[in-house]
Amino acid sequence: MDDAGVGRAIYPDAAPSPPVQNGFSAKEETIQGSLARELASLGIKDLRIVSASGERMLYSRDQSDIPRFLREIMFNSSPDVVVQPFSREAVSAVLRFAASKRVTAIPRGSASSPFGGSVPVAGGIVVDLSSMNKIIKIDPAKGEARVETGVRWADFDQELEKKGLTLNSSPSSKFSTVGGWIATGGLGLNSFSKGHISRSVLSLELVTPDGSIRELSRLDPEFQAVFGSEGQLGVVTGVTISVRSKPSRTKPHLVFFDDFRSAFVFARALAGSAVHPSHIVFESSSKFSLINRMLGKDHFPVKEAIIVNVEGEAAEQTFQAFLRPTGLKEEKEYLARYMWNERYFPMKVRKFGPGLLGSEVVVPLDIMPDAIEKSMALCCELGLRPLFEVHFLDDGRGLLLCFYVTDQENILTYTMDAVKSMLITSRLIEIGAKPYSIGVWFFPFSDAEEKGRVQRLLDAKKALDPQGVMNSGKYFSLSGRFGGLGGLAFSPRFMKPAFKTMLLFLPITSRVMRSLSSFHESALSKGVPRTATDLERIANECAMCGACVSVCPAYLIVRDERVTARGKLMTATALARGERLSKEHSDRTFLCMRCKACEQVCQSKLELVAAYDVLEKELERLHGKDQQEIERFIKYAEASPEYDKLIERGLVIGAPRHGMGGGTDV
């Protein structure tokens, strides 16, 4: 094949020698751009530099699929260069480089948050930390563990389980990274009993733009500021976190109510009782109608529900004693367990659009029912059918998620629905909610943040990042294209009055919106992709949750997200949009073990491998297929001890490991 534009082949020519730590050996693309070249010339150890446009493209978005005109026209969301450090020293060197060049550095975990916190708004260097994924120490006696920032919660929990331990709390996206959750919301499962993640973290290792690596203990003034700082202070590289022994038994309970107010009355009484459940979740009736549809059978009544997880025998008895006098009947255990298991897959319903948009805010429980009622009314007005989910917190508040299914294939509908999500958030904040996360898209609501919190962050920023290197152009102000106009348009100063006006003239607003778009709920799509159009549909159904990245053996070897399901589907989307892809990009897409691990963890249950076949056929037509490269990749993988370890552990943790679906015996 033509080697023009291709860098050195790092594969050893002859028999594959044991791979070097972090050394991907497929043919690398050449370094593109002056910034990347300069960075490469420093020869920083433990660092992979991503500069080719194809791979960089992956870093211009996160879990959300924001309408393109917002993302690409208002902002320069494409990073100038992406780095994958493997050590804190590498992080330090990169930050020093960024500071010296006056370029912003944007830390990124698994990008499973939808708010845009890890997406550039004016270029810069994205620091992909998902490769710093070592679990350094687990100490069962002290009940604590030390991990690197890029460790994924699911992998972490798996390691803990081997020692009879478990996590205090975890985000609903268990494939997100430890550092990522600390830097963003920090609220999720078990937040009712264990509170915000900051309660569990004992100390943090923070690398700041001056290159210093400091360990922050709970006593440090900057310690609290790091939580939810969205990368404003530096890069968290290591975390010491308290863990607990795994409870001998846990039992989820599911109780249905005719109206959501009585559900909340019950839940609040339970929260104040002696039961001390580990977690309480409210799910609205619309969720169950979608789940029934997904399961193809009416397994669940379409009613408002409270899901309670109870740990331990004593608590279980207390719960039963609490439940008995209320006269309520709980659902069968398997239904409760199903719903409890679904806690990690909130995005499944995305399939029905395909697309999911919504709002995520923290609301005091006192006003929660009103908040739900009002946003419900607004949604009806806007022609939406929302799902509500509330995670009860330990401080008398609740994390409210208001989702609705949308159709992101219809650009107009999708854009309208995106605006609607802002209107809903705006209405909720009016009532007294606080934004859960700011990122880019919730910047209009940044002034609703607690003043004390913001001040604390500002103080820490002054101390740690006076130059403004870290994730600049966000949080405190928003940068954008057109001399900052793009960002300014999103500022609370401009947006709030706009939303107010739209809400004031709601009947007109909604009529305008409705006439602009006609959204038809498409049926739950099933089947194997056959054409490029099917491929695009599947790409749209992808929730971009990143679960596939965490299990992908090819990613383990190549460290290039383009080989993962998420990356491949993004390639498919780019292809469908008519973007030009390089031959190297195309060749990368073929690097795959066909292990189907991605299919197994896919919460949208997409037929990914079949989709790859279609995509590959398309790419082969355009660029041909580098059979040799594939063969070298396979040989390399087979010789890699890391891959061996992964296979021995099982690609998908907890998945059954025995023959399934094979031919039957005679």
Partner: protein
């Protein structure tokens, strides 16, 4: 110049789709990690050639049932089961294992290897009820197994004089009545009873017989007239009962001929000896019944070879249905007790389904063994319940002559090698010395008697 006897073997691949003994099923949870490829030393698991990212379907016919892939699969995605088609092969002593073993021998010419050790019974009916002495197998010194090239597998067909006679001048008196034929292997090929025989097979068998320097027994009606001399001399015409020996014309160059045992056999033998004094006379008879008593009479009548015939399962056709191992022993003993054993050769035919049946037959008293159905199985025959040219799953009528020859050479080569191993393990240098060496074998009923005879109060005696 002396030339050591050697059977040239070479790979002769099967023509038909293999019938795998084990079927490996790769379940959907296979992650294409390639561990099975590393695990399998037989090469049953390989990555797909067109897409190396995927594992190809397992090459089941290469599987030796060692279960290594099954046990090493990190996904436990592999299951193994006996092949359904395989299990239906053959019947009776022609078990699927016997048949597939012959296939393997005919393909590779090598001694069969069973991955997970011996999987048969330790005792059973027929030949399974006897064990051979292998006491020398633990002595690799002396000639041992490395002295195979010094072990002779030659046998003689025909009668030997009990003593030498000398004439007045002190020379050995010529004795035309003792026609003798030496074969380098104790096998003859007998296609007179095969259920199906196509022209190419006939030619292939003949070529093989020539190559092996042994004999091919066939009905003269089937033998082409224009055979070259070196092939004709390999032929043993087998004449039917109705043949009138008085007018019989032997094809030119034939050194041995076979007639049937009929009530008028004495007359036939006398006429044959008169007309063809230098030709070895074989008399074919169903084993059992009167035969044991009759054998000394045959010696008296100067019959050279007694060809005892059993059915496919190795049992007598007569009512007793004794197995050939018992029948041969009885025949052998009746001659030994009269001290005339060397004056006649015994060939046994029928029920020879494996290489081990050869030394066992010889141990029981046969001089040589006639290969029959094994010759058909060597050509990948599946021993279907019904057989016709149209329904043949392997299109046997299309088998090329060289292919037939190669397959037979391989099988006989493998069988001879196994015979050599047995002889080496017994410390014998000659197959002739194995004949009737009953002290070198253990019979199940004897062992049972020794172990339990007392306990059962003589119950086992009769």
């Amino acid at each position: 110049m002396f030339e050591r006897y050697h059977i040239p073997i070479k790979m002769v691949e099967g023509r038909a789709k293999p019938v795998p003994k084990f079927v490996i099923v790769r379940a959907d949870n296979c992650v294409n990690c390639g561990k099975c490829e590393k695990a399998c030393i037989y090469g049953a698991h390989k990555r797909s050639e067109e897409d190396p990212r995927k594992m190809a379907d397992p090459q089941n016919q290469l599987c030796k049932n060692c279960f290594r892939c099954v046990s090493e699969c990190p996904q436990r995605a592999l299951t193994m089961s006996p092949g359904p088609e395989y299990r239906l092969l053959g019947k009776g002593i022609w078990t699927p294992l016997m048949i597939s073993t012959i296939w393997g021998e005919s393909e590779t010419g090598k001694i069969p290897v069973f991955g997970a050790g011996y999987r048969g019974m330790f005792a059973g009916p027929g030949f399974d009820g006897m064990w051979t002495d292998m006491s020398e197998i633990v002595r690799p010194t002396r000639d041992g197994i490395h002295g195979r090239e010094f072990i002779s597998t030659s046998v003689d067909l025909g009668s030997k004089p009990a003593f030498l006679e000398f004439d007045k001048d002190g020379r050995v008196a010529s004795d035309d009545a003792h026609a003798l034929l030496e074969l380098p292997i104790p096998f003859v090929m007998d296609i007179s009873r095969l259920r199906i025989l196509h022209g190419n097979m006939m030619s292939g068998y003949l070529h093989a017989a020539k190559h092996l320097n042994t004999l091919l027994m066939a009905s003269p009606a089937l033998v082409p007239h224009d055979l070259p001399d070196d092939e004709r001399t390999r032929l043993v015409p087998v004449y039917p009962e109705s043949t009138d020996v008085g007018t019989l014309e032997l094809p030119r160059g034939v050194r041995i001929a076979e007639i049937q045992l009929t009530p008028r056999w004495r007359e036939d033998v006398r006429k044959f000896k008169e007309r063809f004094p230098g030709t070895v006379l074989a008399l074919r008879m169903n084993a059992g019944g009167e035969v044991d008593r009759l054998l000394p009479d045959l010696v008296d009548a100067k019959v050279d070879v007694a060809h005892l015939v059993f059915d496919e399962q190795g049992s007598e056709h007569m009512e007793d249905k004794r197995h050939s191992k018992d029948s041969l022993r009885a025949a052998h003993k009746s001659l030994v007790s009269r001290k005339i054993r060397d004056q006649i050769t015994i060939i046994t035919g029928g029920g020879i389904a494996a290489a081990e049946h050869v030394p066992k037959s010889i141990l029981c008293g046969a001089d040589a063994v006639a290969l029959e159905k094994a010759l058909l199985i060597a050509l990948e025959c599946r021993d279907c319940p019904s057989c016709s040219k149209e329904s043949c799953p392997i299109n046997l009528h299309e088998a090329p002559v060289e292919w037939v020859e190669g397959r037979v050479l391989n099988m006989v080569g493998a069988w001879r090698d196994q015979l050599l191993e047995v002889l080496g393990a017994m410390g014998l240098r000659e197959v002739r010395r194995l004949r009737g060496e009953l002290g070198r074998a253990i019979f199940y009923e004897d062992v049972e008697m020794e172990a339990f005879g007392e306990l059962k109060g003589g119950e086992l005696d009769g």
